[in-house]
Amino acid sequence: MTTHPKSAPAPYWSLPGLADGAWRSAPLVPGTVVFSMAFGTIAAQKGLTLADTVLMNALVFSGAAQFVAIEVWNNPLTLGTVLSLVTITAIVNARFILMGASLRPWLGQLPAWQAYPALLQNVDANWIVATRYRAEGGGDVSIYLGSGLALWVIWVAAVIPGHLLGAFVKDPTRFGFDMMLPIFFSAMLVQIWRGPRRAIGWGIAGVVALAASWLIPGYWFIVIGAVMGSIAGGFIDDE
């Protein structure tokens, strides 16, 4: 009943897997377009050129971190601001550390020169797409890369009209897009469900994260909740 990574197939690459991966992230495309356009508008207001904005989307490729970091952006940047940008980005993206750790049993079987470049395009969406695929016994790493690259292309392209047209997307929370990631995550949660035993750790993660979100400002709640839930789950022995 439970799928252990040990028994899952070894990682491999395939061309059809890239397309399959891209298709699996398709539910997130409308929201990604809206958020990227909104970011382009904010970046333009902050005085970033179109080229700089496209470059930031291409290199950083991290919606949540970019939206928080752009708030402290000024022109020109002081050393203090650059250090703030590093800190903010690292804190908001600290959840990527855990996502990378969870991919170790799978991608760790790849040579480092294949695993590390694949990880550089990790975002929430392709991580959960790949996690769900792996939980169902898949081994094709192209699913992970394809779903990430598809959203990367959209994230880079859609920022251009947002920057040029400006105020095109005033409020991404219209149509509920601010809830896009939680909604996609919870849909995927149903797919990675492997019985109540593992869910005890998930429940602890939720309770701790909720408490942390009330007590600690910022984005720490994901990491704190997930680590506590994972540790607790590790001490609940399988039969």
Binding site: H4, L77, P182, F185, G234
Partner: protein, 104 residues
């Protein structure tokens, strides 16, 4: 303003953010390569993905209030009945918007 004479162009900020992001993207994977995957560690890693998901969803949903709760409820219900994430995401987002429109 502050005594902070060093001035940088936007490229410095972008590269700094890219660097910070790349470190978070590879650090966990790298770290776990130096940890022996005992059965207990393996179990922790098996619980971890769902724990990340729940630790993200619960606080963000609570913050979104009733529209968030309705949206997640509709999504989960749809997934349990139809197992179609395209439909589930579309209905979930619709539920959030509709609840926002009518919830006081």
């Amino acid at each position: 303003m502050m005594n902070d004479p060093a001035i940088y162009g936007p490229m410095a900020g972008i590269l700094a953010m890219a660097f910070a992001t790349y470190v978070t993207r590879v650090a966990g994977f790298w770290l776990m390569g130096h940890v022996t995957l005992t059965p207990r560690v393996r179990r922790m890693l098996e619980v971890l993905p769902g724990a990340i998901v729940v630790a993200t969803v619960v606080p963000l949903t609570a913050k979104a209030g009733m529209p968030g709760l309705v949206g997640i409820g509709v999504t989960l219900g749809c997934m349990l009945v139809r197992r179609n994430e395209f439909l589930a995401v579309a209905l979930g987002l619709t539920a959030v918007s509709l609840t926002r429109a009518f919830w006081p």
